[in-house]
């Protein structure tokens, strides 16, 4: 029997592959004792920053750069009230913040902080016309710029939209990242689950106060139960001997499990007025004693969406561009999921440089 026929023999290949797999498993098992240490060594945030403004639990981070900002109008990142904002500055090569800082923008990020039980009565009005408005005023005062650029992510995008509609003169450019606007779509599971017949948000908030972090975490996990609860741990074990993969995995998992509660009244308003009544697209969304009218938005708009987003499907964000009065409107659809939109390699290589160029052209 020649060497070639031995290699092509299926039995030989089977034996060889079983042996390889056996050795690979031993290699994987040998890495397990070191995983705990690696999971504890995860860093939160990559770009150097300083806290320049504080109000109650809110902290405003200013990102530092060796070079002077090239553009006069500062950029403010507005993150969601769910989870922590460091997903936007996760790692050196996976940071949306660093892309803008390196492009020469004077960049700020709002960290809302973790609400406690005493914050259960905070409303969207407090966040939008209170905290956010004060932050914008402070940044304008600090930089001497009359307006700011805003980038809102997820729920932060929806809040940024409301802020811009109410305070258009203070916003120069608005960028939205997977922001929920039109909640009539049934593409996402959350839209099903928050149906008034299935979910009594009033009873929930009255009983629990804030929407508990564990509840939100479980809901997000349940959006893709097979991927999150079965496939992910198996994939992790298969690649546990790849240091780069393990580091990325723990960085991501740290963020995913770093949940915070959402203030009860904000949760009530969000579910009732948006998910259940879809008032934002009807220009009837109440924020305090004011009503959000999307037609009042006239600034340039960049709407970035994720093709495979299970949390905020494209159909929820896409209608936004047709609801505003802006003439300069652009959409970018990235082939990624909700989080991949910020940290995914495709988004980092293509979408974010394009977003930086878009903003630079309008400064």
């Amino acid at each position: 029997m020649t060497e070639n026929t031995t290699v092509n023999n299926p039995w030989f290949r089977w034996q060889q592959s079983l042996l390889d797999e056996g050795f690979a498993n031993m290699r994987r098992m040998s890495r397990i004792p070191f995983l705990w240490e690696k999971s504890q060594a995860v860093k939160k945030g990559a770009t150097p920053s300083e806290v320049v403004y504080e109000e109650d639990r809110l902290k405003l981070l200013h990102y530092l750069s060796d070079a002077k900002p090239r553009y006069k109008t500062p950029l403010i990142f507005v993150f969601a009230l769910v989870n922590r904002p460091y997903i936007l500055d996760l790692k050196e090569n996976r940071s949306v913040v660093s892309q803008f800082v390196k492009s020469g923008f004077d960049t700020y990020l709002i960290d809302w902080g973790a609400p406690q039980h005493a914050d259960r009565h905070l409303t969207l009005d407090d966040y939008i016309n209170g905290y956010m408005s004060n932050v914008v005023d402070y940044v304008c005062e600090r930089t001497g710029a009359p307006q700011v650029n805003i980038l809102g992510y997820c729920m932060g995008g929806t809040m940024s939209t409301m802020y811009t509609a109410l305070h258009q003169r203070k916003v120069k450019n608005l960028m939205l990242l997977a922001a929920g606007i039109d909640f009539a779509t049934r593409d996402g599971l959350l839209n099903f689950w928050t149906d008034p017949n299935a979910f009594d948000v009033d009873a929930f908030v009255d009983a629990f106060g804030n929407a508990p972090a564990e509840f939100l975490q479980a809901t997000f996990q349940l959006l893709k139960p097979v991927q999150n609860l079965i496939e992910k741990p198996i994939n992790f074990f298969e690649k546990v001997d790849d240091d780069k993969f393990v580091e990325d995995y723990f960085t991501m998992e740290t963020w995913l499990n770093d949940n915070i509660a959402v203030p009860g009244e904000v949760f009530r308003e969000f579910v009732k007025c948006l998910y259940q009544k879809n008032l934002l697209v009807k220009n009837r969304m109440p924020v305090g004693k004011h009503t959000v009218d999307l037609r009042k938005i006239t600034c340039p708009i960049l709407n970035i969406m994720a093709q495979a987003d299970d949390l905020v499907p494209c159909a929820q964000s896409a209608p936004f561009n047709d609801l505003v009065s802006s003439r300069d409107r652009k959409s970018i659809v990235v082939p990624a999921g909700h989080i991949g939109l910020a940290v995914g390699s495709k988004a980092q290589k293509e979408a974010w440089p394009e977003a930086c160029r878009w903003l630079a052209d309008r400064n």
């Binding site: 089977w14 299935a198 305090g288 004693k289």
Partner: protein
């Protein structure tokens, strides 16, 4: 057959359907494999097929009225349990003349109403002051809407409560 029994049968049928669909899809994924594949590769492909089939079936199930109904039942139970424990703890605190969370909540709510009323009043006064300033400067007067604060961008001034800090060092 009463409604409850019928409902239970419907739920069971829906649950049976997802498992039937899942197994059908799994079998299909098994048949699509090449006989030349080595065992680990074969198993990996089969596993991926199974997971794909499972996730598709679960996605369909989670959109079904049966799932939302059972979820509602679970949520209602959780809310009822929470309410019961809240009431029990409030009662226990009150028995020993202590302060319960419900008391603090009521106090917070009262403070919030007070704050809202004061802030609304301050906004109103600020609008009037702006108008007076404009009149004193000889600028044209705003319309009626402005007098009621409708043209003024909404803002909750909280600067007295704010703590502005200078650079507090680097964070990473």
């Amino acid at each position: 057959m009463n409604d409850t029994t019928e409902n239970a049968f419907e739920k069971a049928a829906a649950f049976q359907k997802i498992w039937m669909d899942t197994f059908t899809r799994m079998a299909q994924s098994g048949f699509s494999l090449s006989p030349d594949s080595t065992p680990p590769e074969f198993l990996r492909q089969m596993r991926s097929g199974i997971f794909h089939a499972l996730s598709k079936s679960w996605e369909e199930f989670m959109r079904s009225p049966q799932f939302t109904e059972s979820m509602k039942g679970m949520m209602d139970n959780a809310i009822a349990f929470r309410k019961m424990s809240n009431d029990f703890l409030t009662g226990a605190h009150h028995t020993f003349q202590g302060t319960a969370r419900a008391d603090i909540d009521s106090l917070m709510l009262a403070l919030r109403h007070l704050e809202t009323r004061i802030l609304d009043r301050v906004e109103d006064i600020s609008t009037r002051l702006d108008q007076l300033e404009q009149r004193l400067d000889g600028a044209p007067r705003n319309g009626k809407a402005s007098a009621h604060g409708k043209n003024v961008p909404p803002q909750r001034k909280r600067k007295t409560a704010a703590r502005r800090t200078k650079a507090t060092g680097k964070q990473s």
